[in-house]
């Protein structure tokens, strides 16, 4: 019998010896540990994609001793074939360009798919892509394209006019549920196959933005054979295009692999060499957490990442092992539309005062550490037809704001809030609960100084969308990128107040509608540019929106990545990229 060393409890005569206790506990512990391990092994402990180290192209920068400066300008040496890039990235919802509405996906599509025409580096000219010649009818209702011969899709089938027709017709099919491409086809009517290398696209009305839209990856031709084979739900996981890289595999939530298309022999006008791409493979790793993604770049696990944190940009720029690139995205900048159908923002003077009252440069620099540019108008500065005049229209001027509000009858009350006819100047500002919410807090402080009572609501996205449709806001937010100023129709035309509700100014403006419609149909490029200059000035004269900042992409890469140049929306053309050994 055990010596009962422990007799604290009279109700327990025997007591438990320390030895017995330890043995008992050890038994339980072992059993528990064994069951935990078994359960962990039995379940799917995920398969991380093997870290593909660059082969032939040298290892990522962290192993280097930092000797020798690196420069990304000309004179980088001769391109070397081979190697794998590991790209830390967001997971795209779908890889079907006809369906996708996600900018991050569009930037990938540019590498898997070619477009009929491409935009030149200056953003203004159109260069040949899969089409070598094109001609628009003078009435703008049809475009005829001469197609390149000898082009094949990744599945070996031929690229021809039938493929172009199939692609556009399928985009218009409601069963596909196209989100973006369908809007970029405008008043599409049909495509005629004149002969295997000639296609004519017909519209019900003159459509000037078509060439610019064609340079967007969502209108890239897809393989009809593959699209029919995989169906509307399947092609998004099995994309087949004509581009310099081919889709290989996709491990949901973990990684995606793209490999070189060895038969690629039709570089578009924006490409800088001939033949297949230099890189053998691009491995995308889906890293959700931004800190972990940054860490993957500095640890060498990733060669390139999208999403360098703004506060880390400066430090990374001074580190010779890395390069930071911040290409701008054209289209609309981030803007805050003001509801012109709801008091007090129904008064032009109040809207103008609001813009004058905010020191937007300080707001933008606070949020973005100097990495993003303050927006001044309804278009971003890299967009074709951008009007520099908007930059001087609304400088930060608190006195001017005060003067306008006084003129509008809003006098400062005893509490500091302006009043008119016994009512306070109250602004309902509804925005999303991310960085926009932070921007809202900064804007709110300036408006409060100006004597306004700002009711700031930071909500989740779907809730904001519901509120905007109902017109509950005085200040909302919106952002759309695009290569063409036709994006202004999306955001400022009256027909978009209901339905999609992309026009959150909520007030029909027939004269602006006419200007927008005329510009969409204006086939003369010089005149069209003038039209959009007038539109930008109209929008700002009417203080329809508060411009915030221009969007940029935060690319970070190892300094050994060479040959980087950018797509129209800020993505990287991987065709010309090579890895320095």
């Amino acid at each position: 019998m055990d010596t009962g060393e422990f007799r604290s409890d009279p109700a327990r005569p025997g007591g438990v010896s320390r030895r017995a206790l330890v043995r008992g506990a050890a038994g339980v512990v072992l059993a528990g540990v064994a069951s935990s391990l078994l359960s962990a092994c039995g379940g799917t402990t995920g398969q991380g994609a093997p870290t593909a180290a660059a082969s032939g192209g040298g290892t990522p920068a962290s192993g280097s001793t930092g000797s020798g400066g690196t420069s990304t300008t000309a004179g980088q040496g001769n391109p070397v074939s081979g190697g794998t890039i590991v790209l830390g990235y967001d997971e795209p919802p779908t890889m079907d360009p006809r369906v996708s509405g996600a900018t991050i996906a569009w930037r990938l599509f540019y590498n898997l798919f070619d477009q009929l025409v491409v935009l030149g580096a200056n953003g203004g000219d159109f260069l040949p892509g899969l089409a070598t010649k094109w001609e628009a009818a003078p009435d703008g209702k049809s475009y005829q394209f001469t197609l390149r011969t000898g082009v094949k899709f990744h599945d070996g089938t031929d690229f021809n006019a039938d493929a172009v027709k199939y692609t556009f017709d399928s985009i218009m099919d409601p069963a596909l549920k196209s989100l973006t491409a369908i809007g970029y086809l405008g008043p599409y009517q049909s495509t005629d196959v004149v002969d295997p290398s000639t296609a004519r696209v017909n519209f019900t009305a003159a459509y000037a933005p078509f060439l610019a839209n064609l340079s967007h990856s969502v209108l890239s031709p897809v393989s009809p054979t593959a699209a029919k084979k995989y169906g509307v739900n399947g092609f998004g996981q099995n994309p087949v295009g004509t581009g310099p890289f081919m889709f290989k595999e996709w491990q949901q939530k973990i990684s995606m692999t793209l490999v070189k298309n060895p038969d690629y022999n039709w570089p578009t006008g924006v490409y800088q060499h001939k033949g297949p791409a230099y890189l053998d493979q691009i491995t995308l790793k889906f890293i959700v957490d931004p800190t972990v993604r940054m860490g993957s770049l500095t640890s060498g696990e990733a060669t390139i990442i999208d999403g360098v944190l703004p506060q880390d940009v400066k430090q990374l720029k001074t580190d010779a092992r890395y390069q930071v690139m911040l290409p701008s995205v054209p289209g609309s900048p981030q803007v805050l539309p003001m509801n012109a159908a709801k008091p007090p923002t129904d008064d032009l003077k109040v809207r103008q005062a609001i813009i004058y009252a905010i020191d937007m440069n300080t707001v933008v620099n606070t949020l973005w550490f100097g990495s993003r540019k303050t927006a001044k108008g309804p278009l971003s500065s890299p967009t074709w037809s951008y009007d520099p005049k908007v930059e001087t229209m609304y400088p930060y001027d608190a006195n001017k704001a005060a003067q306008l509000l006084d003129e509008a009858g809003w006098k400062k009350g005893s509490s500091g809030v302006r009043e008119k006819n016994g009512q306070q100047l109250e602004i309902v500002y509804i925005t999303t609960n991310d960085i926009q919410g932070k921007a809202g807090e900064l804007v709110q402080s300036y408006l409060t100084d100006a004597g306004m009572k700002v009711n700031l609501q930071e909500l989740e996205y779907a809730a904001t969308a519901a509120d905007y449709l109902a017109g509950k806001h005085n200040i909302a937010r919106i952002y759309f990128s695009h290569v063409d100023p036709v994006v202004l129709t999306t955001l400022y035309h009256s027909r978009n107040i209901q339905g999609t509700n992309f026009n959150r100014t909520m007030l029909p403006r027939p004269d602006l509608d006419k200007m927008l419609d005329d510009a969409t149909a204006e086939m003369d490029r010089t005149k069209r540019q003038q039209d959009y200059v007038a539109i930008q000035e109209y929008i700002m004269n009417n203080a329809e929106v508060i411009p915030l900042w221009e969007e940029t992409v935060f690319w970070g890469a190892s300094a050994k990545v060479k040959g980087i140049h950018f797509q129209p929306l800020g993505g990287i053309w991987f065709y010309d990229v090579w890895l320095q050994p």
């Binding site: 962990a40 379940g43 973006t180 405008g186 998004g236 949901q252 989740e460 779907a462 969308a465």
Partner: protein, 314 residues
């Protein structure tokens, strides 16, 4: 026994119907239109270009959103019983494939968390009962109280701060490999262990008073045999019930833990689906979670018969 099982399985059918109806109603009561989310610039990426009013209505029609709610629900049920849970609005992938990919990660996390909870709960509970009213007991009860009271995300962050960023023993995020499982499972497990500890302690105390324990001791059995083979086994029944119920709250806790530790799983799946109003994914995930929960409880009930020969099912 088999008739009992049959009856129980039959009862689950109205339960699951009720769950799916409730989920459907709640989802549609929340403001927000999935088509609008699809078209919009959520998450920083822009979407629809100049989509016409007609195309927008077509999209809603394709998603079945313009039908009366009753019809939408009926369509859903008819498809579901044939095994078709629909397709995600966001990615077009089939809901069943999304769930099948995500479920193993959540199950692995929940089981590991449960294992941790049982391990910790039993050890602490037994020790506390054996050393009742001493400092050992108080310490065990303190741990239990912390587990009960602490929000799971707070504990998760603390563990990350200490063991991942501080000591560097484990990664802070990820779903691949055992190393990424330890901290999340420990977080979940510690919380659940709070309840288990208390219950083990109180049932052990009760059981240790019983006559058969005195008999066993007077027979000269070693204390360890008395505690483990006789006392503990009888203490198991109420604890097994609680453990079964805890499984449900562990599943729910996975939602938060998967977000904190950036892990894949049903929790992340449903959170993203709710934010983007991806109705088919929300419905499917709730339904699957309900099925898992119902069958775990059935299994728990059946295990009583194994544990206690006095219990028979007819």
């Amino acid at each position: 026994m088999w008739r009992y099982i049959e009856r129980r399985v039959l009862v689950t059918i109205p339960v699951l119907i009720g769950v799916s109806l409730l989920a459907f109603s709640i989802i549609h009561l929340i403001p927000g239109d999935p088509a609008r989310v699809l078209l919009g610039d959520m998450g920083g990426g822009s979407a629809a270009g100049d989509m016409s009013q007609q195309a927008y209505l077509n999209l809603r029609h394709q998603l079945g959103l313009d039908k009366p709610l009753v019809v939408q629900y009926a369509d859903y049920v008819v498809n579901a019983v044939q095994g078709n849970l629909g397709h995600s609005y966001q990615t077009n992938r089939s809901v069943s494939s999304l769930i099948l990919t995500a479920a193993p990660y959540t199950i692995e996390l929940t089981v590991a968390g449960l294992g941790f909870a049982i391990l910790l709960g039993f050890v602490l509970g037994v020790i506390a009962s054996l050393y009742r009213n001493t400092w050992v007991d108080s310490l065990a009860m303190l741990f239990s109280l912390i587990g009960l009271a602490m929000p799971s995300f707070w504990l998760g962050f603390i563990l990350i701060e200490i063991f991942a960023f501080g000591l560097g023993w484990f990664p802070a995020t990820g779903s691949n490999g055992i190393k990424t499982l330890i901290l999340p499972a420990a977080t979940l497990g510690f919380i659940a262990a709070g309840t288990v500890t208390r219950l083990v302690r109180s049932t052990m105390l009760e059981v240790l008073q019983q006559e058969y324990v005195v008999t066993a001791r007077s027979k000269g059995l070693r204390e360890r045999t008395v505690v483990v083979r006789h006392a503990l086994r009888n203490a198991l029944i109420p604890v097994v019930t609680i453990v079964g119920l805890q499984f449900g709250s562990l599943l729910a806790g996975a939602v938060i833990i998967e977000t904190v530790f950036a892990r894949q799983g049903l929790g992340r799946l449903i959170v993203d689906a709710v934010l983007s109003r991806d109705y088919p994914v929300i419905q499917g995930t709730i339904f699957v979670a309900a099925v898992i929960y119902v069958f775990v409880n059935l299994f728990v009930d059946l295990s009583y018969a194994w544990l206690d020969p006095r219990i028979k099912y007819e």
